[in-house]
Protein backbone atom coordinates (compact mmCIF):
# COMPACT_ATOMS: atom_id res chain seq x y z
CA UNK A 1 0.00 0.00 0.00
CA UNK A 2 1.34 3.41 -0.94
CA UNK A 3 2.08 5.68 1.97
CA UNK A 4 2.33 9.45 2.22
CA UNK A 5 5.99 10.38 2.24
CA UNK A 6 7.82 13.44 3.38
CA UNK A 7 10.26 13.64 0.48
CA UNK A 8 9.12 16.59 -1.67
CA UNK A 9 10.34 15.03 -4.91
CA UNK A 10 8.01 12.09 -4.33
CA UNK A 11 5.00 14.28 -3.78
CA UNK A 12 2.40 14.86 -6.47
CA UNK A 13 0.57 17.36 -4.26
CA UNK A 14 1.94 19.50 -1.48
CA UNK A 15 -0.65 21.94 -0.12
CA UNK A 16 -0.21 24.01 3.02
CA UNK A 17 -2.76 26.10 4.93
CA UNK A 18 -5.03 26.62 1.94
CA UNK A 19 -7.86 29.06 2.56
CA UNK A 20 -10.72 29.97 0.26
CA UNK A 21 -13.73 32.19 0.87
CA UNK A 22 -16.43 32.84 -1.73
CA UNK A 23 -17.96 36.29 -1.75
CA UNK A 24 -21.22 37.16 -3.46
CA UNK A 25 -23.74 39.98 -3.70
CA UNK A 26 -23.10 43.59 -4.65
CA UNK A 27 -24.99 45.52 -2.00
CA UNK A 28 -25.29 42.90 0.74
CA UNK A 29 -21.98 41.04 0.66
CA UNK A 30 -22.22 37.39 1.64
CA UNK A 31 -19.18 35.33 2.53
CA UNK A 32 -18.95 31.55 2.49
CA UNK A 33 -15.79 30.09 3.93
CA UNK A 34 -15.04 26.96 1.89
CA UNK A 35 -11.54 26.02 3.10
CA UNK A 36 -9.97 26.90 6.46
CA UNK A 37 -6.29 26.12 6.41
CA UNK A 38 -6.30 22.79 4.61
CA UNK A 39 -2.98 20.97 4.29
CA UNK A 40 -2.63 17.85 2.17
CA UNK A 41 0.22 15.86 0.74
CA UNK A 42 -0.21 13.12 -1.82
CA UNK A 43 2.56 10.77 -2.90
CA UNK A 44 3.14 10.15 -6.60
CA UNK A 45 1.30 7.07 -7.81
CA UNK A 46 -1.18 7.01 -4.91
CA UNK A 47 -4.96 7.04 -5.02
CA UNK A 48 -6.20 9.37 -2.32
CA UNK A 49 -9.84 9.89 -1.46
CA UNK A 50 -11.26 13.16 -0.20
CA UNK A 51 -14.49 12.41 1.62
CA UNK A 52 -16.95 14.62 3.39
CA UNK A 53 -20.57 15.74 3.57
CA UNK A 54 -22.10 18.14 1.04
CA UNK A 55 -20.58 21.60 1.25
CA UNK A 56 -17.53 20.33 3.12
CA UNK A 57 -15.10 21.86 0.62
CA UNK A 58 -14.15 18.78 -1.41
CA UNK A 59 -14.83 20.24 -4.86
CA UNK A 60 -13.27 23.57 -3.87
CA UNK A 61 -10.10 21.79 -2.81
CA UNK A 62 -9.95 19.75 -6.02
CA UNK A 63 -10.63 22.83 -8.14
CA UNK A 64 -7.74 24.70 -6.51
CA UNK A 65 -5.41 21.74 -7.04
CA UNK A 66 -6.55 21.53 -10.68
CA UNK A 67 -5.93 25.30 -11.26
CA UNK A 68 -9.62 26.08 -11.85
CA UNK A 69 -9.75 28.22 -8.72
CA UNK A 70 -7.10 30.36 -7.11
CA UNK A 71 -6.60 30.07 -3.35
CA UNK A 72 -6.93 33.15 -1.11
CA UNK A 73 -4.04 32.03 1.08
CA UNK A 74 -1.65 29.14 1.42
CA UNK A 75 0.98 27.50 -0.73
CA UNK A 76 0.02 24.81 -3.24
CA UNK A 77 2.50 22.89 -5.34
CA UNK A 78 1.27 20.24 -7.76
CA UNK A 79 3.74 18.04 -9.63
CA UNK A 80 6.43 20.45 -8.44
CA UNK A 81 4.71 23.50 -9.96
CA UNK A 82 2.96 26.38 -8.22
CA UNK A 83 -0.79 26.24 -9.02
CA UNK A 84 -1.05 30.01 -9.51
CA UNK A 85 2.26 31.14 -11.00
CA UNK A 86 2.89 28.05 -13.14
CA UNK A 87 -0.71 27.08 -13.90
CA UNK A 88 -0.26 27.00 -17.69
CA UNK A 89 2.59 24.49 -17.56
CA UNK A 90 0.76 22.45 -14.95
CA UNK A 91 -2.44 22.14 -17.02
CA UNK A 92 -0.57 20.10 -19.64
CA UNK A 93 0.18 17.44 -17.01
CA UNK A 94 -3.11 16.96 -15.20
CA UNK A 95 -6.74 16.35 -16.01
CA UNK A 96 -10.10 15.99 -14.33
CA UNK A 97 -13.41 14.15 -14.49
CA UNK A 98 -16.38 15.68 -12.74
CA UNK A 99 -19.56 14.01 -11.57
CA UNK A 100 -21.87 15.76 -13.99
CA UNK A 101 -19.71 16.18 -17.07
CA UNK A 102 -20.86 18.39 -19.88
CA UNK A 103 -19.46 19.04 -23.32
CA UNK A 104 -20.68 20.86 -26.42
CA UNK A 105 -24.00 19.22 -27.14
CA UNK A 106 -23.84 18.74 -30.89
CA UNK A 107 -20.24 17.52 -31.07
CA UNK A 108 -19.88 13.77 -31.52
CA UNK A 109 -17.99 11.54 -29.12
CA UNK A 110 -14.92 11.20 -31.37
CA UNK A 111 -14.90 14.95 -32.08
CA UNK A 112 -14.94 15.84 -28.39
CA UNK A 113 -11.95 13.65 -27.59
CA UNK A 114 -10.11 14.93 -30.70
CA UNK A 115 -10.85 18.57 -29.81
CA UNK A 116 -9.19 18.18 -26.42
CA UNK A 117 -6.39 16.13 -27.99
CA UNK A 118 -5.51 19.05 -30.26
CA UNK A 119 -5.48 21.42 -27.29
CA UNK A 120 -2.80 19.18 -25.76
CA UNK A 121 -0.70 19.34 -28.93
CA UNK A 122 -1.76 16.13 -30.70
CA UNK A 123 -2.33 16.07 -34.44
CA UNK A 124 -2.46 13.78 -37.47
CA UNK A 125 -1.79 10.09 -36.95
CA UNK A 126 -0.83 10.51 -33.29
CA UNK A 127 -4.17 12.17 -32.57
CA UNK A 128 -6.13 9.51 -34.44
CA UNK A 129 -4.29 6.73 -32.60
CA UNK A 130 -4.90 8.34 -29.20
CA UNK A 131 -8.59 8.94 -29.91
CA UNK A 132 -9.01 5.35 -31.15
CA UNK A 133 -7.31 3.85 -28.11
CA UNK A 134 -9.32 5.95 -25.65
CA UNK A 135 -12.58 5.14 -27.37
CA UNK A 136 -11.67 1.47 -27.20
CA UNK A 137 -10.61 1.74 -23.55
CA UNK A 138 -13.90 3.36 -22.56
CA UNK A 139 -15.95 1.04 -24.78
CA UNK A 140 -17.41 3.93 -26.76
CA UNK A 141 -16.83 2.60 -30.28
CA UNK A 142 -20.57 2.08 -31.03
CA UNK A 143 -21.24 5.69 -29.98
CA UNK A 144 -18.30 7.34 -31.74
CA UNK A 145 -20.53 9.29 -34.15
CA UNK A 146 -23.34 9.97 -31.71
CA UNK A 147 -23.84 13.62 -30.63
CA UNK A 148 -23.08 14.20 -26.95
CA UNK A 149 -26.64 15.39 -26.25
CA UNK A 150 -28.02 11.96 -27.23
CA UNK A 151 -25.87 9.96 -24.79
CA UNK A 152 -27.06 8.47 -21.50
CA UNK A 153 -25.54 9.61 -18.19
CA UNK A 154 -23.25 6.59 -18.06
CA UNK A 155 -21.99 7.13 -21.60
CA UNK A 156 -21.40 10.83 -20.90
CA UNK A 157 -19.31 9.82 -17.91
CA UNK A 158 -17.26 7.53 -20.13
CA UNK A 159 -16.71 10.37 -22.62
CA UNK A 160 -15.45 12.47 -19.71
CA UNK A 161 -13.09 9.67 -18.71
CA UNK A 162 -11.79 9.33 -22.29
CA UNK A 163 -11.27 13.11 -22.48
CA UNK A 164 -9.48 13.13 -19.14
CA UNK A 165 -6.90 10.63 -20.40
CA UNK A 166 -6.21 12.32 -23.73
CA UNK A 167 -3.05 14.04 -22.46
CA UNK A 168 -1.82 10.95 -20.57
CA UNK A 169 -1.96 12.91 -17.31
CA UNK A 170 0.43 12.33 -14.45
CA UNK A 171 -2.28 13.44 -12.05
CA UNK A 172 -5.99 12.84 -12.41
CA UNK A 173 -8.74 14.45 -10.35
CA UNK A 174 -11.98 12.50 -10.15
CA UNK A 175 -14.79 14.54 -8.64
CA UNK A 176 -17.64 12.12 -7.90
CA UNK A 177 -16.83 10.02 -10.98
CA UNK A 178 -19.64 7.51 -10.46
CA UNK A 179 -22.36 9.96 -9.44
CA UNK A 180 -25.70 8.95 -10.93
CA UNK A 181 -24.37 5.89 -12.74
CA UNK A 182 -26.08 2.52 -12.85
CA UNK A 183 -24.34 0.06 -10.50
CA UNK A 184 -22.90 -2.05 -13.34
CA UNK A 185 -21.47 1.03 -15.07
CA UNK A 186 -20.09 2.31 -11.75
CA UNK A 187 -18.32 -1.03 -11.25
CA UNK A 188 -16.72 -0.69 -14.72
CA UNK A 189 -15.65 2.90 -14.07
CA UNK A 190 -14.05 1.83 -10.78
CA UNK A 191 -12.25 -0.98 -12.60
CA UNK A 192 -10.93 1.59 -15.12
CA UNK A 193 -9.66 3.77 -12.30
CA UNK A 194 -7.88 0.89 -10.59
CA UNK A 195 -6.35 -0.16 -13.92
CA UNK A 196 -5.09 3.37 -14.62
CA UNK A 197 -3.07 3.41 -11.45
CA UNK A 198 -1.91 -0.20 -11.86
CA UNK A 199 -0.84 0.06 -15.52
CA UNK A 200 0.11 3.71 -15.90
CA UNK A 201 1.07 4.77 -12.39
CA UNK A 202 -1.19 7.83 -12.51
CA UNK A 203 -1.69 9.68 -9.23
CA UNK A 204 -5.40 9.96 -8.56
CA UNK A 205 -7.31 12.21 -6.18
CA UNK A 206 -10.89 11.15 -5.81
CA UNK A 207 -13.92 12.67 -4.12
CA UNK A 208 -16.90 10.45 -3.59
CA UNK A 209 -20.02 9.98 -1.53
CA UNK A 210 -19.77 6.21 -1.88
CA UNK A 211 -17.84 4.78 1.04
CA UNK A 212 -17.42 1.41 -0.62
CA UNK A 213 -15.80 3.12 -3.59
CA UNK A 214 -13.32 4.91 -1.36
CA UNK A 215 -12.63 1.74 0.62
CA UNK A 216 -12.08 -0.25 -2.57
CA UNK A 217 -9.91 2.23 -4.48
CA UNK A 218 -8.07 4.52 -2.13
CA UNK A 219 -4.71 3.98 -0.50
CA UNK A 220 -5.46 6.83 1.84
CA UNK A 221 -8.48 8.91 2.75
CA UNK A 222 -8.79 12.47 4.00
CA UNK A 223 -12.04 13.40 5.74
CA UNK A 224 -13.00 17.00 5.23
CA UNK A 225 -15.78 18.87 6.98
CA UNK A 226 -16.59 22.58 7.11
CA UNK A 227 -13.40 23.37 5.22
CA UNK A 228 -11.07 21.45 7.53
CA UNK A 229 -9.44 18.05 7.21
CA UNK A 230 -10.55 16.22 10.33
CA UNK A 231 -8.75 12.93 9.83
CA UNK A 232 -6.54 11.19 7.30
CA UNK A 233 -4.95 7.83 6.88
CA UNK A 234 -5.62 4.42 5.41
CA UNK A 235 -9.09 3.00 5.76
CA UNK A 236 -7.90 0.74 8.59
CA UNK A 237 -6.07 3.56 10.34
CA UNK A 238 -9.16 5.74 10.26
CA UNK A 239 -11.30 3.01 11.70
CA UNK A 240 -8.83 2.55 14.54
CA UNK A 241 -8.25 6.29 14.94
CA UNK A 242 -11.83 7.01 15.89
CA UNK A 243 -12.05 3.87 18.00
CA UNK A 244 -15.11 2.42 16.40
CA UNK A 245 -14.07 -1.04 17.47
CA UNK A 246 -14.73 -4.29 15.62
CA UNK A 247 -18.03 -5.91 14.82
CA UNK A 248 -19.08 -9.43 15.90
CA UNK A 249 -22.14 -10.46 13.89
CA UNK A 250 -24.18 -13.34 15.32
CA UNK A 251 -27.10 -15.35 13.94
CA UNK A 252 -28.96 -16.53 17.04
CA UNK A 253 -31.99 -18.49 18.04
CA UNK A 254 -33.90 -16.82 19.63
CA UNK A 255 -32.94 -13.82 17.51
CA UNK A 256 -33.41 -11.14 20.20
CA UNK A 257 -30.92 -11.13 23.08
CA UNK A 258 -31.10 -7.62 24.62
CA UNK A 259 -28.75 -8.33 27.54
CA UNK A 260 -25.76 -8.80 25.19
CA UNK A 261 -25.12 -5.03 25.18
CA UNK A 262 -24.56 -5.13 28.96
CA UNK A 263 -21.56 -7.45 28.78
CA UNK A 264 -18.30 -5.58 29.55
CA UNK A 265 -16.40 -4.56 26.38
CA UNK A 266 -19.54 -4.56 24.21
CA UNK A 267 -20.04 -0.98 23.03
CA UNK A 268 -23.43 -1.45 21.37
CA UNK A 269 -25.65 -4.09 19.75
CA UNK A 270 -28.04 -3.64 16.82
CA UNK A 271 -30.21 -6.02 14.80
CA UNK A 272 -29.60 -5.96 11.04
CA UNK A 273 -31.38 -8.38 8.67
CA UNK A 274 -31.74 -11.14 11.26
CA UNK A 275 -28.18 -10.70 12.53
CA UNK A 276 -27.20 -9.24 15.89
CA UNK A 277 -24.23 -6.94 15.30
CA UNK A 278 -22.21 -6.20 18.42
CA UNK A 279 -19.52 -3.53 18.26
CA UNK A 280 -16.80 -4.51 20.73
CA UNK A 281 -13.55 -2.89 21.83
CA UNK A 282 -11.46 -5.97 20.91
CA UNK A 283 -12.99 -8.90 19.02
CA UNK A 284 -10.28 -11.43 19.89
CA UNK A 285 -10.86 -10.94 23.62
CA UNK A 286 -14.66 -10.47 23.61
CA UNK A 287 -15.72 -13.26 21.22
CA UNK A 288 -15.06 -16.15 23.66
CA UNK A 289 -16.80 -14.22 26.45
CA UNK A 290 -19.87 -13.62 24.28
CA UNK A 291 -20.05 -17.22 23.14
CA UNK A 292 -19.73 -18.45 26.72
CA UNK A 293 -22.50 -16.13 27.92
CA UNK A 294 -24.83 -17.15 25.10
CA UNK A 295 -24.15 -20.84 25.69
CA UNK A 296 -24.85 -20.42 29.43
CA UNK A 297 -28.23 -18.85 28.63
CA UNK A 298 -29.12 -21.65 26.20
CA UNK A 299 -29.10 -19.46 23.10
CA UNK A 300 -28.36 -21.41 19.91
CA UNK A 301 -25.54 -19.89 17.82
CA UNK A 302 -26.15 -20.58 14.12
CA UNK A 303 -23.44 -18.38 12.57
CA UNK A 304 -20.64 -16.02 13.68
CA UNK A 305 -18.70 -13.42 11.66
CA UNK A 306 -16.06 -10.95 12.77
CA UNK A 307 -15.36 -7.86 10.68
CA UNK A 308 -14.00 -4.35 10.83
CA UNK A 309 -16.53 -1.52 10.83
CA UNK A 310 -17.59 -0.14 7.43
CA UNK A 311 -15.96 3.07 6.29
CA UNK A 312 -19.46 4.50 6.20
CA UNK A 313 -19.64 4.18 9.96
CA UNK A 314 -16.36 6.09 10.24
CA UNK A 315 -17.81 8.76 7.96
CA UNK A 316 -20.94 9.06 10.09
CA UNK A 317 -18.86 9.39 13.25
CA UNK A 318 -16.64 12.06 11.74
CA UNK A 319 -19.50 13.95 10.16
CA UNK A 320 -21.27 14.29 13.54
Amino acid sequence: MTRMVSSLSMLAIDAHDVEKTFRSGWLRRRETVALRGVSLTVARGAIVGVLGPNGAGKTTLLSILATLLTPDRGRVTVLGLDVVREASALRRRLNMVSGRPSFLWSLRVGEIVAFYGRLYGLSGRALRRRVDSLIELTELEPYRRVPYSELSTGLKQRVALAKSLVNEPELLFLDEPTLGLDPDVAVRVRAHIARLRREQGITIVLTTHYMREADELCDEIAFIKAGRILARGTSGELKRQIRLGEVIALKLDPARVPWLAEIPGVLRCVEVDGWVECTVDEAEKRLPELLRALHAEGVVIRNVQVREPELEEVFVELAK
Binding site: F22, T59, A66, L69, T70, F115, L119
Partner: protein, 264 residues
Protein backbone atom coordinates in the same frame (compact mmCIF):
# COMPACT_ATOMS: atom_id res chain seq x y z
CA UNK B 1 4.40 26.89 -25.86
CA UNK B 2 5.69 26.10 -29.37
CA UNK B 3 4.33 27.68 -32.55
CA UNK B 4 3.03 24.26 -33.58
CA UNK B 5 1.02 23.93 -30.37
CA UNK B 6 -0.21 27.52 -30.71
CA UNK B 7 -1.51 26.84 -34.20
CA UNK B 8 -3.00 23.50 -33.19
CA UNK B 9 -4.94 25.07 -30.33
CA UNK B 10 -6.29 27.77 -32.67
CA UNK B 11 -7.17 25.11 -35.24
CA UNK B 12 -8.96 23.05 -32.56
CA UNK B 13 -11.24 25.98 -31.74
CA UNK B 14 -11.74 26.81 -35.43
CA UNK B 15 -12.79 23.25 -36.20
CA UNK B 16 -15.02 23.04 -33.14
CA UNK B 17 -16.87 26.26 -33.97
CA UNK B 18 -17.20 25.28 -37.64
CA UNK B 19 -18.74 21.92 -36.65
CA UNK B 20 -21.14 23.60 -34.24
CA UNK B 21 -22.13 26.14 -36.89
CA UNK B 22 -22.79 23.47 -39.47
CA UNK B 23 -25.14 21.59 -37.13
CA UNK B 24 -27.24 24.42 -35.79
CA UNK B 25 -30.32 25.51 -37.68
CA UNK B 26 -30.22 28.98 -36.10
CA UNK B 27 -26.86 29.63 -37.72
CA UNK B 28 -28.66 29.40 -41.05
CA UNK B 29 -30.86 32.33 -40.03
CA UNK B 30 -27.82 34.33 -38.94
CA UNK B 31 -26.07 33.58 -42.21
CA UNK B 32 -28.85 33.92 -44.75
CA UNK B 33 -32.20 35.05 -43.49
CA UNK B 34 -31.47 38.29 -41.62
CA UNK B 35 -28.78 39.59 -44.02
CA UNK B 36 -31.06 39.03 -47.05
CA UNK B 37 -34.03 40.61 -45.29
CA UNK B 38 -31.77 43.55 -44.38
CA UNK B 39 -30.44 44.33 -47.86
CA UNK B 40 -33.80 43.84 -49.56
CA UNK B 41 -35.69 46.09 -47.16
CA UNK B 42 -33.04 48.86 -47.21
CA UNK B 43 -32.60 48.60 -51.01
CA UNK B 44 -36.35 48.76 -51.61
CA UNK B 45 -36.72 51.65 -49.20
CA UNK B 46 -34.01 53.59 -51.07
CA UNK B 47 -35.93 52.95 -54.32
CA UNK B 48 -39.21 54.11 -52.74
CA UNK B 49 -37.55 57.29 -51.45
CA UNK B 50 -36.03 57.81 -54.92
CA UNK B 51 -32.51 58.20 -53.53
CA UNK B 52 -29.73 59.02 -55.95
CA UNK B 53 -27.35 56.22 -56.95
CA UNK B 54 -24.70 57.60 -54.54
CA UNK B 55 -27.17 57.88 -51.66
CA UNK B 56 -28.44 54.33 -52.27
CA UNK B 57 -24.82 53.12 -52.30
CA UNK B 58 -24.27 54.92 -48.98
CA UNK B 59 -27.04 53.06 -47.18
CA UNK B 60 -26.31 49.73 -48.90
CA UNK B 61 -22.69 49.93 -47.70
CA UNK B 62 -24.17 50.40 -44.22
CA UNK B 63 -26.48 47.43 -44.41
CA UNK B 64 -23.70 45.18 -45.74
CA UNK B 65 -21.39 46.36 -42.94
CA UNK B 66 -24.12 45.61 -40.41
CA UNK B 67 -24.51 42.00 -41.55
CA UNK B 68 -20.77 41.35 -41.90
CA UNK B 69 -19.92 42.78 -38.46
CA UNK B 70 -22.92 41.12 -36.81
CA UNK B 71 -22.20 37.61 -38.10
CA UNK B 72 -18.48 37.81 -37.37
CA UNK B 73 -18.95 39.34 -33.90
CA UNK B 74 -21.45 36.67 -32.86
CA UNK B 75 -19.03 33.94 -33.88
CA UNK B 76 -16.29 35.49 -31.73
CA UNK B 77 -18.74 35.70 -28.82
CA UNK B 78 -19.51 31.99 -29.37
CA UNK B 79 -15.95 31.31 -28.16
CA UNK B 80 -17.40 31.58 -24.66
CA UNK B 81 -21.15 31.39 -25.25
CA UNK B 82 -21.09 27.84 -26.63
CA UNK B 83 -19.36 26.63 -23.48
CA UNK B 84 -21.61 28.68 -21.21
CA UNK B 85 -24.72 27.18 -22.82
CA UNK B 86 -23.40 23.64 -22.66
CA UNK B 87 -21.85 24.16 -19.19
CA UNK B 88 -18.45 22.97 -20.36
CA UNK B 89 -16.50 26.10 -19.48
CA UNK B 90 -14.42 24.46 -16.76
CA UNK B 91 -13.30 21.64 -19.06
CA UNK B 92 -12.22 24.27 -21.55
CA UNK B 93 -10.15 26.21 -19.04
CA UNK B 94 -8.72 23.10 -17.44
CA UNK B 95 -6.97 22.43 -20.74
CA UNK B 96 -3.90 24.43 -21.78
CA UNK B 97 -5.92 26.91 -23.81
CA UNK B 98 -5.33 30.64 -23.86
CA UNK B 99 -7.85 33.30 -24.71
CA UNK B 100 -5.82 34.07 -27.84
CA UNK B 101 -6.60 30.56 -29.11
CA UNK B 102 -10.28 30.89 -28.30
CA UNK B 103 -10.77 34.28 -29.86
CA UNK B 104 -8.56 33.78 -32.91
CA UNK B 105 -10.07 30.35 -33.64
CA UNK B 106 -13.59 31.77 -33.42
CA UNK B 107 -12.61 34.84 -35.40
CA UNK B 108 -11.39 32.70 -38.30
CA UNK B 109 -14.79 30.96 -38.50
CA UNK B 110 -16.49 34.34 -38.12
CA UNK B 111 -14.51 35.81 -41.01
CA UNK B 112 -15.32 32.84 -43.26
CA UNK B 113 -19.01 33.05 -42.42
CA UNK B 114 -19.21 36.81 -42.82
CA UNK B 115 -17.28 36.62 -46.10
CA UNK B 116 -19.96 34.22 -47.31
CA UNK B 117 -22.59 36.73 -46.18
CA UNK B 118 -20.70 39.54 -47.92
CA UNK B 119 -20.47 37.66 -51.23
CA UNK B 120 -24.18 36.86 -51.07
CA UNK B 121 -25.17 40.45 -50.28
CA UNK B 122 -22.80 41.85 -52.90
CA UNK B 123 -24.36 39.62 -55.55
CA UNK B 124 -27.88 40.50 -54.42
CA UNK B 125 -27.04 44.22 -54.30
CA UNK B 126 -25.62 44.11 -57.81
CA UNK B 127 -28.56 42.13 -59.22
CA UNK B 128 -31.43 43.92 -57.48
CA UNK B 129 -30.14 47.48 -57.03
CA UNK B 130 -27.15 47.85 -59.39
CA UNK B 131 -24.80 48.39 -56.44
CA UNK B 132 -21.21 47.39 -57.25
CA UNK B 133 -19.01 46.58 -54.23
CA UNK B 134 -15.85 46.48 -56.34
CA UNK B 135 -16.27 49.98 -57.70
CA UNK B 136 -13.76 51.38 -55.16
CA UNK B 137 -11.21 48.68 -56.11
CA UNK B 138 -9.81 45.61 -54.37
CA UNK B 139 -7.61 47.50 -51.91
CA UNK B 140 -10.44 49.73 -50.67
CA UNK B 141 -12.77 46.73 -50.42
CA UNK B 142 -10.12 44.69 -48.56
CA UNK B 143 -9.53 47.55 -46.10
CA UNK B 144 -13.28 47.93 -45.55
CA UNK B 145 -13.73 44.22 -44.87
CA UNK B 146 -10.68 44.14 -42.59
CA UNK B 147 -12.19 47.06 -40.70
CA UNK B 148 -15.47 45.18 -40.30
CA UNK B 149 -13.65 42.04 -39.12
CA UNK B 150 -11.52 43.98 -36.63
CA UNK B 151 -14.57 45.77 -35.25
CA UNK B 152 -16.30 42.40 -34.90
CA UNK B 153 -13.27 40.98 -33.10
CA UNK B 154 -13.13 43.86 -30.62
CA UNK B 155 -16.87 43.77 -29.86
CA UNK B 156 -16.91 39.94 -29.71
CA UNK B 157 -13.98 39.77 -27.27
CA UNK B 158 -15.53 42.52 -25.15
CA UNK B 159 -18.75 40.48 -25.02
CA UNK B 160 -16.72 37.40 -23.96
CA UNK B 161 -15.15 39.48 -21.17
CA UNK B 162 -18.56 40.69 -19.97
CA UNK B 163 -20.03 37.19 -19.95
CA UNK B 164 -17.02 35.87 -18.04
CA UNK B 165 -17.33 38.77 -15.62
CA UNK B 166 -21.08 38.71 -14.99
CA UNK B 167 -22.15 35.23 -16.08
CA UNK B 168 -25.26 34.39 -18.08
CA UNK B 169 -26.84 37.73 -17.13
CA UNK B 170 -24.53 39.44 -19.63
CA UNK B 171 -25.68 37.26 -22.52
CA UNK B 172 -27.92 40.03 -23.82
CA UNK B 173 -24.77 42.05 -24.55
CA UNK B 174 -23.87 39.48 -27.19
CA UNK B 175 -26.94 40.40 -29.17
CA UNK B 176 -27.26 44.09 -28.33
CA UNK B 177 -23.78 45.59 -28.09
CA UNK B 178 -22.90 45.39 -31.78
CA UNK B 179 -26.06 47.25 -32.76
CA UNK B 180 -25.11 50.11 -30.46
CA UNK B 181 -21.69 50.30 -32.11
CA UNK B 182 -23.26 50.24 -35.57
CA UNK B 183 -25.75 53.00 -34.74
CA UNK B 184 -22.99 55.22 -33.37
CA UNK B 185 -20.61 54.49 -36.26
CA UNK B 186 -23.05 56.09 -38.70
CA UNK B 187 -24.29 53.03 -40.47
CA UNK B 188 -27.02 54.76 -42.52
CA UNK B 189 -25.90 58.39 -42.14
CA UNK B 190 -22.75 60.47 -41.82
CA UNK B 191 -21.82 61.06 -38.19
CA UNK B 192 -22.11 64.82 -38.77
CA UNK B 193 -25.89 64.37 -38.33
CA UNK B 194 -25.40 63.03 -34.79
CA UNK B 195 -25.63 65.32 -31.73
CA UNK B 196 -22.18 66.57 -30.67
CA UNK B 197 -21.80 64.21 -27.70
CA UNK B 198 -22.74 61.15 -29.77
CA UNK B 199 -20.53 62.29 -32.65
CA UNK B 200 -17.61 62.45 -30.21
CA UNK B 201 -18.25 58.82 -29.26
CA UNK B 202 -18.59 57.93 -32.95
CA UNK B 203 -15.16 59.43 -33.64
CA UNK B 204 -13.71 56.99 -31.11
CA UNK B 205 -15.05 53.96 -33.03
CA UNK B 206 -12.83 52.39 -35.71
CA UNK B 207 -15.79 51.34 -37.87
CA UNK B 208 -16.71 55.02 -38.37
CA UNK B 209 -13.41 55.52 -40.19
CA UNK B 210 -13.62 52.34 -42.28
CA UNK B 211 -17.15 53.23 -43.44
CA UNK B 212 -16.00 56.75 -44.24
CA UNK B 213 -12.97 55.52 -46.23
CA UNK B 214 -15.04 53.09 -48.30
CA UNK B 215 -17.90 55.50 -48.95
CA UNK B 216 -15.43 58.13 -50.16
CA UNK B 217 -15.08 56.00 -53.30
CA UNK B 218 -18.83 56.39 -53.99
CA UNK B 219 -18.63 60.18 -54.23
CA UNK B 220 -18.97 61.18 -50.55
CA UNK B 221 -16.32 63.54 -49.31
CA UNK B 222 -14.36 62.03 -46.44
CA UNK B 223 -14.97 63.62 -43.04
CA UNK B 224 -11.54 62.58 -41.76
CA UNK B 225 -7.92 62.78 -42.76
CA UNK B 226 -6.38 59.30 -43.36
CA UNK B 227 -9.52 57.45 -42.19
CA UNK B 228 -8.24 53.92 -42.95
CA UNK B 229 -5.01 54.44 -41.01
CA UNK B 230 -6.92 55.99 -38.11
CA UNK B 231 -9.37 53.06 -38.13
CA UNK B 232 -6.53 50.54 -38.06
CA UNK B 233 -4.74 52.37 -35.23
CA UNK B 234 -7.92 52.55 -33.16
CA UNK B 235 -8.67 48.87 -33.89
CA UNK B 236 -5.21 47.85 -32.65
CA UNK B 237 -5.72 49.87 -29.47
CA UNK B 238 -9.17 48.42 -28.76
CA UNK B 239 -8.07 44.91 -29.68
CA UNK B 240 -5.33 45.14 -27.04
CA UNK B 241 -7.78 46.54 -24.48
CA UNK B 242 -10.43 43.89 -25.22
CA UNK B 243 -7.82 41.12 -24.94
CA UNK B 244 -6.62 42.48 -21.62
CA UNK B 245 -10.22 42.82 -20.36
CA UNK B 246 -11.01 39.21 -21.27
CA UNK B 247 -7.81 37.99 -19.62
CA UNK B 248 -8.63 39.94 -16.46
CA UNK B 249 -12.20 38.59 -16.50
CA UNK B 250 -10.95 34.99 -16.70
CA UNK B 251 -8.54 35.57 -13.83
CA UNK B 252 -11.35 37.08 -11.78
CA UNK B 253 -13.66 34.15 -12.63
CA UNK B 254 -10.98 31.77 -11.36
CA UNK B 255 -10.75 33.82 -8.16
CA UNK B 256 -14.49 34.18 -7.50
CA UNK B 257 -15.50 30.68 -8.57
CA UNK B 258 -17.73 31.96 -11.39
CA UNK B 259 -15.86 29.69 -13.80
CA UNK B 260 -17.13 26.68 -11.82
CA UNK B 261 -20.58 28.16 -11.25
CA UNK B 262 -21.10 28.61 -14.98
CA UNK B 263 -20.27 24.91 -15.44
CA UNK B 264 -22.93 23.64 -13.00
Amino acid sequence: MSWRNELLAIWAVTLRNALMSARNVFFFFELLFWPIVGILSIGLMSRFLELSEEQASFVLVGTIALSVVNVCQLEVAYAVLLDVWSKSLKHQFLAPIGIRHLTLGSWIVGMVRSLAVFVLLAALGRWAFGFHVLQPGWLALGTFLLGCFLTAWVVGVAVCALITLFGNRAEAFAWASVNLVLVLAGIYYPISVLPDSMAAVARALPLTYFLDAYRAHYGFESEFRAPAATGLALSALYAALAHWAFLAAIQRARRTGLLLKMSE
